[in-house]
Amino acid sequence: MTNAWIRALGFLLLFGTTGLFCLRAVGAAGF
């Protein structure tokens, strides 16, 4: 895999975990 693909996968992982749960936390807080 090229570096660009690894970076893309990394972004996917980041948005899919940190990004997702931070947004979920907002939802859970009643907004």
Binding site: L13, L14, T17, T18, F21, C22, R24, A25, A28, G30
Partner: protein, 276 residues
Amino acid sequence: MPELYTGDRARTLASNAVWLHLLPLPLIFAALGSLAGGRLGELAFEVVGFAGLMAGAILVRKGLARERDYNRRAVARAPRLPRKLLGAALYGVSTGAVAMATGMGFGVAAVAASGAALGVAFVYGLDPRRDKAVQDAGGVTTAEVEETVATARAKIADIDAAARRIGNAELKARLGRIAARARDIVLQLESDPKDIRRARKFLHVYLDGARDVAAKYAATHARVESGELEGNFRRVLEGMEKTFEAQHMRLLADDVNDLDVDLEVLRLRLKEEGVV
């Protein structure tokens, strides 16, 4: 040959770990909501998660700065602290905490934590681990090169600082050129440390001379405006520019002639002007 002074800016912006700082921002609203609703357990996880994510992002950013510095140098030690790795781990754990805040079980939180840590490592990479040692240094050790280079850079920084205090644009520009030339010489020495011994006099006596002249002029000129003083200073700087340039050329050309010859001329000039 390491990269010269330019070309970093575009990369800096791209590799500034901006995303790592942006992703946790929604947590501020989440925490406010939890606070308003009186759900303190949730709030605790959110606050801890937010602080951890931001701290992790800062660590990664510092690691990136270290890495850029490492890449720019011809001789460098690998950073002692694996900041990017620690940052990635912290980011992961904190993501786990946020997942717990949303009511997820430990298993899901652990998966989220690993995913986030891996994500950070994939996007921003790991810390440089190997020291870039001196090659073919002719008996000069890595530590010696590092120390020499660090000392010289500190002196050049002093020259820059003095230049900032000088009002006269022309003299300021001259000093700037001298500092830039000195920086090139240091970089050249770093990539070809064999020359360090030959350049010793330059590094110790003349760089010091340049720094002292600049500092002295900056200090006096703040108090008195004297055309004569300015003239003397200009002549000294002219001599210095020429000498520094000649030094650089000789280093580049691997000229085996003694570098001290033009330095001797400069020394006499400095003495004539009553600087040393």
